[in-house]
């Protein structure tokens, strides 16, 4: 019988549910459980927080919740874990996992941390141009917070070869987290772009968790899935040549169908024939999908092309502040009152001299989400929130937005609904830029710990 490995997803982002990870650990019969917990700005936001809050450990703030939920079953069943919960401090995350292993009475478990993605102090020497606007990266010097390269699967494979049962990383390309176990188990060569293309494509289908099992999908009356309150995270059964079946734990809500898999295949993809990753260039345009049973989709023939000589770098920069607030109208004539309120705010911002790079005043309920794409004949809603936001260079300017909304309480117009501010109405903007770095300039290093 040919060898098949089962890889399950444990998270698709920092705020994801923990319960489906535990379900996969307990009932997924997994060889590997993989967690993806970082967004584009995660590292920069963590750097900002670490500067201000000396108690911040620098790793996923839900690390304890996630590990306590899955470690008992994973240790019992010999399921290995690969996770990017290390954020800006993979060593600290690994030590924390060792702490939980000991708490649970598991000694002698090897935990590895993958480091090396952080290149903040070298990025301006190593990179040349900003991909988005063609400017020299040196223009970012005054505002630079952090820079990290997207590493590939190889350092994770190295850690697994050394006997690690749990591997926790900093920035690694999301799909690489899921492909590393395939490379390790099947001995795929890092330059075998045919197999890596298929494996990385599978990783891409797994990296967003429930997005392939019925999440971010339902549209009532058009495409429904059962029990959309009870999703499982996906499981992929992979064979040595990369052929695979996507599925989920039986008895859960959601669905794995051609439609859910197709939607995820193109999610956040630009050119479907050239999806760039650190390990391989993936080609989705020849992929074959077959529904071979309920909640079972067979995925084959995802193509691969040789990897590029560079790695992508994300560069986070401070870019000022956003001030934001809202207030409300309802009943007959809600829209005409909202329109006058908008005019009042525009005049008030002029009177108080608001210095803003951009101001946006929307009618939530009518055009706050689709903006200029809202049809001209969209019906007038019964209720409207007037939502105001401005991007400014300083926090002092951003504060003016909320202060002028405060004025709408007793100095506004009739029938204005208004909240007493209960949350911070300004926030810092961390802009993210991209650049390329020669891959040999960013060597990874793996550290080992033992419970």
């Amino acid at each position: 019988m040919t060898k098949t490995i089962r890889i399950g997803a444990g998270a698709a982002w920092w705020g994801d549910r923990v319960e489906p990870a535990q379900l996969n650990a307990e009932r997924g019969e997994l060889d590997y459980l993989c967690f993806e917990t970082m967004a584009e700005a995660t590292v920069s936001a963590a750097q900002v927080r670490a500067r201000r809050d000396p108690t911040f450990e620098g790793y996923d703030t839900y690390l304890d919740d996630r590990m306590r939920a899955v470690l008992p079953a994973c240790m019992r069943q010999g399921t290995k874990i690969v996770s990017n919960q290390g954020w800006i401090n993979p060593d600290a995350a690994a030590k924390r996992i060792v702490h939980w292993l000991r708490e649970l009475g598991h000694t002698g478990v090897k935990v590895a941390s993958v480091n090396g993605s952080m290149i903040t102090d070298r990025v301006l020497q190593l990179t040349d141009r900003i991909l988005e606007n063609g400017q020299p990266t040196s223009t970012l010097k005054p505002t630079l917070i952090s820079a990290e390269a997207y590493l590939g699967a190889e350092p994770i494979v190295e850690a697994l070869r050394a006997g690690a049962q749990i591997v926790v990383t900093g920035r690694v390309a999301d799909p690489s987290i899921f492909m590393a176990p395939m490379m390790f188990e099947f001995g795929w060569d890092p330059l075998d772009h045919v197999r890596l293309g298929q494996g990385m494509g599978l990783g891409h289908l797994m990296e967003c968790g429930a997005e392939v099992t019925g999440g971010y999908f339902s549209d009532p009356g058009f495409k429904d899935v059962p029990e959309p309150w009870n999703f499982a995270f996906p499981i992929v059964e992979v064979e040595a040549d990369g052929s695979a079946v996507l599925t989920k734990v039986a008895g859960t809500g959601g669905a794995v169908t051609l439609q859910t898999v197709k939607e995820q295949m193109l999610y956040e993809v630009h050119d479907p024939a050239n999806y760039l990753t650190p390990d391989v260039v993936v080609d989705f345009t020849q992929a074959r999908l077959e529904q071979i049973g309920p909640d079972r989709v067979r995925v084959t023939q995802i193509g691969g092309k040789p990897r590029t000589p560079t790695l992508k770098v994300s560069i986070g920069c401070t870019e000022g502040f956003i001030g934001e607030d809202m207030f409300f109208y309802a009943g007959p004539g809600a829209l005409r009152r909202a329109q006058l309120a908008k005019k009042i705010l525009e005049e008030r911002f002029r009177i108080v001299g608001l210095q803003a790079e951009e101001i946006r005043i929307d009618f939530l309920g009518l055009n706050a989400i689709h903006g200029a794409a809202t049809p001209a004949d969209a019906p007038e809603p019964y209720e409207i929130a007037v939502r105001v936001a401005a991007r400014t260079a300083t926090r002092e300017e951003a504060i003016k937005v909320g202060r002028e909304v405060d004025g709408m309480a007793v100095s506004g117009i009739g029938h204005t609904g208004k909240r007493v501010p209960h949350a911070e109405r300004t926030r810092e903007v961390i802009g993210v830029w991209s650049a390329l770095v020669p891959r040999e300039q960013v060597p990874a290093s793996v550290h080992y710990f033992e419970s």
Binding site: F217, E268, I369
Partner: protein, 119 residues
């Protein structure tokens, strides 16, 4: 007959920086040629009016009976800089479901959501 796109296709949007990719998938193979012929990159961009400030590129993905519209300048300068309440543009894909498309009458049995169509 003219119907809204939602009756023949589903869609999903994803974000990368200031670019939103909005993929449109035919519910049935018979609908895919209609999408290809009628939902051009230019019509797509025009439909979103000022919400997409940059270029729209259309990729045909025949094996998935899908088209991927890569929309530059659609996310208010980038997810973290955007002043839009939906700064990731997760709901942006829903707008195109309102695009009007011409469907041959004989394909009517394949339409989705027929409860919303006039008899």
């Amino acid at each position: 007959m003219k119907v809204l796109l939602q009756h023949i296709a589903h869609a999903r949007s994803g974000d990368k920086g200031d670019t939103s990719n909005i993929a449109v998938f035919a519910y049935a193979p018979e609908f895919y040629p209609l999408l290809k012929a009628q939902l051009t990159a230019k019509r797509f961009k025009d439909f979103y009016a000022g919400a997409i400030r940059g270029e729209v590129l259309r990729y045909e993905v025949d094996n998935l009976e899908a088209m991927n519209f890569v929309c530059h300048g659609a996310l208010g300068g980038g997810v973290s800089r955007s002043l839009c309440l939906d700064n990731y543009g997760k709901a942006l894909s829903a707008a195109i479901l309102g695009f009007e498309i011409d469907v041959p009458d004989e394909l009517r049995p394949l339409l989705r959501g027929t409860h919303l169509l006039a008899a």
